[in-house]
């Protein structure tokens, strides 16, 4: 592990000054077993400013955030360091981590407030929302009378843009939408006019448009109440949007800190530079995942670059495909008038898409747009649709089980979560052999050779053949899942949100890998995602899916520069810019 890491600082704002409300000094936190999670973190929060704390999963950013409230999750304990708080109208600092239970409790919710990641899990489902806000006021004895507290509940609800009336306060959390629930969380945090606000990825579960609204509310409330905020997130784009300063964390160390503009535009630390180069930009000025494709994101391993054998293989497959083709000039994949409804809910309506060999189309949609349903219809995993899906002019049966072997091999599907798509009880080799076994070609030996070759082509290496998913990282698992889709030499690859469960640097390397594979295998690809910023990095064509219909469809640059539909325009506008 790294030893002492010094933080790269862009300015002196961290030095003691009268604007600072909360200062964390040399904070160390360890597990109960004694492993250190935070290795001495320093940062300061100033009044009216938001500090963004960025890091990938496992960097310890939430642990650091909760420590500011004197809270340590089950299994973690405070090791050393200090957290000093200067409450409003008080000149002397309070040592948060040294207070007893009662004293720290009186600070929580009143002086330091917390806005959680997932509002659906953090609101008590058996308590009316008004009552939950009211509870904070009651505990911290806000104001002098019952009436004053009731007034405050109504007022703070209005502040966050909700209705403050009694009927609204009487609602249960499950009767609100995700965005509304999060605004209840914000109202609860601001009820006591706190000095410090800890925001733990408060917009992660939300759609881009809802996220924009919630971020807006947070920004307004922070400025209006002159609060010092700590915004924890993995999303650099959000940081750029909301915070004044940013601190970058890497495995328990703070590696770089400074004003947003200077850190993000002129990163000094190697890790920050790497992060910045991995973040996809809507403008597509940089090439994410370049070079990363050549190597798995972790240890440097001997990589086996596909030799000529691989290329000739892909030629074979195209030939055999053409041999069986029914019509020479039919597109490789054609989706025509596909529609799907469950009862009254129209999930998909009149979808038309075509894909030529080597083409990549990005299918963009928010959650609930029907994008996964559509990609599963194409792959034959959902057979409830009407309309046709044709491969090389031949109409496909709706269910994958009814398609011919050749058709099944032709379209391969990669699942969203690499944590779920590989059987944990079977080795990577066993899982990857399944497609070959089922299509019935070759002997055990040739199958093994093909699987090993596929492992090579995704830059994992043959040594992964006998390993189990449990000892692989997320990125490695996703590479294995891609390899499974490649063993049969398909002509179309359907990738369903395959990078959404991964950290941004891993995402970049996977995107890089896909680009290389497309070239090597002349693959056509349907890349499904919610992240519009990826479009220029991978796709030739862009299709925008909204509520089951394609509202914009064309070459990527054209759609992004001249969106025809209002929805596309708002989407582009809502994306935090880089």
């Amino acid at each position: 592990m790294t030893t002492e890491t010094t933080t790269v600082r862009h300015d002196d704002a961290n030095l003691p000054n009268e604007k600072i409300v909360l200062r964390v000094t040399d904070l160390k936190i360890a597990t109960n077993a004694g492993d250190e999670i935070l290795h001495g973190v320093n940062f300061a929060l100033s009044r009216g400013e938001i500090l963004g704390l960025v890091g990938e999963s496992g960097s310890g950013k939430t642990t650091a955030g909760l420590a500011c409230m004197g809270h340590f999750r089950e299994g973690l304990k405070f090791a050393s360091g200090s957290v000093s708080l200067w409450p409003r109208g008080d000149d002397t600092a309070v040592e948060v981590v040294e207070l007893d239970e009662v004293a720290v409790r009186s600070l929580r919710g009143s002086r330091i407030a917390y806005i959680p990641q997932d509002p659906a899990l953090s609101l008590n489902p058996a308590m009316r929302v008004g009552e939950q806000i009211r509870e904070v006021l009651d505990i911290h004895k806000f104001g002098s009378s019952e009436a004053e507290r009731s007034e405050r509940v109504a007022a703070v609800l209005v502040d966050v843009g909700l209705s403050g009336d009694k009927a609204y306060q009487k609602r249960w959390p499950h009767q609100l939408s995700g965005g509304q629930q999060q605004r209840i969380g914000i109202a609860m945090a601001f009820a006591m006019y706190p000095d410090v606000l800890i925001l733990d990825e408060p917009t992660t579960g939300l759609d881009v448009s809802t996220q924009a609204v919630v971020l807006d509310t947070i920004r307004q409330m922070t400025v209006a109440n002159n609060v010092a905020g700590l915004y924890i997130t993995h999303d650099l784009a959000v940081i750029k949007d909301i915070s004044d300063r940013v601190a970058v964390m890497l495995r328990g160390d703070l590696v770089e800190e400074g004003p947003v503009a200077s850190v993000l535009e002129d990163p000094q630390h190697e890790y920050t530079k790497m992060l910045m180069s991995a973040v996809p930009d809507l403008a597509g000025r940089k090439t994410i995942g370049e070079g990363a494709a050549a190597e798995p994101e972790s240890e440097s391993k001997a990589t086996h670059i596909l030799v000529s054998a691989g290329t000739s293989k892909s030629d074979d497959s195209t030939e055999s495909g053409d041999g069986a083709a029914t019509s020479a000039n039919a597109p490789l994949l054609q989706v025509k008038d596909v529609a799907l409804a469950y009862g009254k809910a129209q999930i998909l309506d009149g979808i038309n898409l075509t894909l030529e060999p080597g083409d990549c189309t990005l299918l963009l949609g928010e959650s609930g747009s029907g994008k996964t349903t559509l990609s599963r219809c194409v792959a034959g995993l959902n057979d409830d649709y009407s309309g046709t899906v044709a491969l090389r002019g031949a109409e496909l049966a709706r269910s994958t089980r009814k398609r011919t072997n050749e058709q099944r091999v032709g379209i391969q599907y990669v699942f969203q979560s690499p944590f779920s798509s590989l059987n944990p009880r079977r080795s990577i080799g066993q899982s990857l052999t399944v497609p070959l076994e089922m299509s019935g070609d070759g002997t055990a030996a040739t199958r093994k050779a093909q699987v090993e070759e596929a492992l090579d082509s995704v830059r994992l290496g043959r040594s992964f053949y006998h390993r189990r998913p449990g000892d692989l990282s997320g990125g490695e698992r996703q590479r294995a899942a891609i390899a499974r889709a490649l063993v049969n030499q398909p002509s179309v690859l359907v990738c369903d949100e395959i990078t959404s469960a991964l950290d941004v640097s891993v995402q970049a390397s996977i995107i890089g890998l896909l680009r290389t594979l497309r070239k090597e295998h002349d693959l056509a690809m349907l890349f499904v995602t919610h992240n519009i910023a990826l479009s220029r990095h991978i796709a030739d064509n862009l299709a925008v899916l909204n509520k089951g219909t394609i509202v914009d469809y064309g070459p990527t640059a054209e759609v992004l520069e001249n969106p025809k539909h209002e929805y596309t325009r708002t989407l582009i506008a809502d994306v935090p810019k880089f």
Binding site: L66, M69, H71, R73, E74, E101, R105, S106, L107, R108, G109, S110, Y114, P116, D118, L121, S122, L123, N124, P125, A126, M127, E135, V136, I139, H140, W172, H174, Q175, M188
Partner: protein
Amino acid sequence: MFGKVIGRRLIFSAFILIAVSLLVFGATLLLPGDAARAILGQQATPERIAALNEQLGLNQPAWQRYFSWLGGLFVGDFGTSTASGGSVAQLLSDRIGNSFILMAAAAIISVPLGIGLGVYSALHRGGRRDSALTGISLVFAAMPEFVIGIGLIAIFATSVFQILPAVTLAPPGEPVWGRPEQLILPTVTLILVVTPYIVRMMRATMIEVLDSGFVEMARLKGVPETRVILRHAVPHALGPVAQVVAIQLAWLAGGVVVVEFLFRYPGLGQALIDAVTYRDVQVVQAISMLVAAVYVVVNLAADVVGILTNPKLRSAA
């Protein structure tokens, strides 16, 4: 809306009872070909066999017998005991009360005790007191009720202390509560069998709830710990635990059989064992139906608790 949910559960409960009645009645069709001879033994005279066949209605087709039996159940006519010749309802009427006392006493003590110990254990998770409680409840949950009962008899009634009666002393006709000390050991046995399950379930549910986001949020709001537990955590644990309590109470209706036999307690269980020994089919059928009815009622109660503690269900259509 609430009524609608309950209405649906009621219909389902009725379905269960009808299905159980089919099952219980169907079982008698498995009686060996000559049921009357099987019941009366090889020495029975042809006249007695004919009389019994008549009495059991074995001359009628099965479906007809089923409906007259089912119809009887509704008006409290459980048929005639083949062993004693008396009416089954008569035979069971004084025993129902006795069994009910035993079960109610056990339930009233073990439900709050189990919930309390479960919460206590969860709050001291990982500590010495928690592992002691967990260990003890594992041990008691494992042992069959008669093993626990005999252990108690050995300690309190014979070898060690001799302070409590080992068996029920009340002569027939005298109410069992006439001598309360004879109720202690059977009740304690039932409590020791039932409580561990409630403790374990309550502990597991509480731990899950204590780890949930909204409990962490409550703590981060500065809510005092007692209020976190009583207002935020416990209400969520009650719904699932009600289900376990229901299963345990229903189990009491069965487990009481062995305990009554062990303590020679004049209740339904004792009657059931006698009936099985004498192959008194009508009595066995009647008691099986009663036990199923208890199950249905307590489950219905648990559903109501589950709905009341969950606003999502409460307001759902």
